[in-house]
């Protein structure tokens, strides 16, 4: 029986990778002004968390992590659908997806 191909990858590496992806996602949210790109970076952050959950679930032999990832995907899909619909309707009113224009969150 062949050994699993992943035997010699330490768990720590997945941690670092996932953290890095998460920080890139955050950087993207702070970096961009287009609301759609920001939503994509949020998806990136969600995926980094998914990756980490699957890694932990595999390394500890507990499949709860993978089921949880399943549900995260469910929620992410629903969220993207509604979020994009919102953005489209905003675009119809303001003709822009620039978040500096959408600054009415203060009154």
């Amino acid at each position: 029986m062949k050994e699993a191909a992943i035997n010699y990858v330490p768990q720590n590496w997945y941690l670092v990778l996932s953290t890095f992806l998460f920080c890139i996602g955050i950087m993207g949210v702070l970096f961009r002004r287009n609301a759609i790109i920001i939503m994509m970076c949020i998806e990136l952050m969600l995926n980094s968390v998914n990756l980490l959950l699957v890694a932990f679930s595999s390394y500890s032999g507990n499949s709860d992590g993978q089921v949880f990832v399943f549900f995260i995907m469910v929620v992410a899909a629903a969220e993207v659908a509604v979020g994009l619909a919102l953005l489209v309707s905003i675009y119809r009113n303001v003709m822009s997806t620039d978040i500096n224009v959408l600054n009415k969150l203060k009154w």
Binding site: A5, V9, L21, I26, L51, S63
Partner: protein, 164 residues
């Protein structure tokens, strides 16, 4: 051998993620995010989570990113109309993200992880096992997620409808 695989996939993931953030054309951002998702699916296969890898490709790369693409094309975003933040804000963003990264890594230094290497064979990622888990222990969330989808559908349709 597995380590090389890991390194390659990670490299691709990171590069495409950085391209998502730094590219000027939003179309290119969307496309590189798709590449990123494919590489992450590759990671899933490496970890023996086959069901999730397939679902990931189908849902994320297949449905969600297509939705993004359609929206970008609908709003006709391209390189010229893309707004940018001022330079020093960009620098501050990079620094903030960097600080977060450092904080997280530093706090992970003292963690005690359960196992360092994978056990010889893991079967928990197979379709049957996930299926059993999903329909016995996690039945309720499974059913409620269908309600969630229904409300998301209705909401999306209502929001995006054109006013008469």
């Amino acid at each position: 051998m597995s380590q090389y695989l890991f390194f390659t996939l990670s490299f691709l993931t990171i590069i495409s993620a950085l391209y998502v953030v730094f590219s000027r054309n939003p179309m290119y951002s969307v496309l590189s995010l798709i590449v990123c998702f494919f590489t992450i699916a590759g990671h899933y296969i490496l970890l023996n989570a086959q069901f999730l890898a397939i679902v990931h490709i189908i849902v994320y790369a297949g449905a969600i990113m297509v939705l993004f693409l359609f929206t970008v094309m609908l709003l006709n975003l391209n390189k010229e109309t893309e707004p940018h933040k001022t330079n020093w804000v960009k620098v501050a963003a990079v620094i903030a993200a960097g600080m977060l990264f450092l904080t997280l890594i530093a706090s992970l230094k003292s963690t005690q992880l359960g196992t360092y290497h994978l056990p010889p064979r893991t079967t928990i990622g197979l379709v049957q096992n996930i299926g059993i888990k999903l329909f016995t222990d996690f039945l309720l969330p499974f059913e409620i997620s269908s309600i969630l989808f229904m409300s998301a559908m209705i909401g999306a349709v209502m929001l995006a409808k054109k006013e008469k």
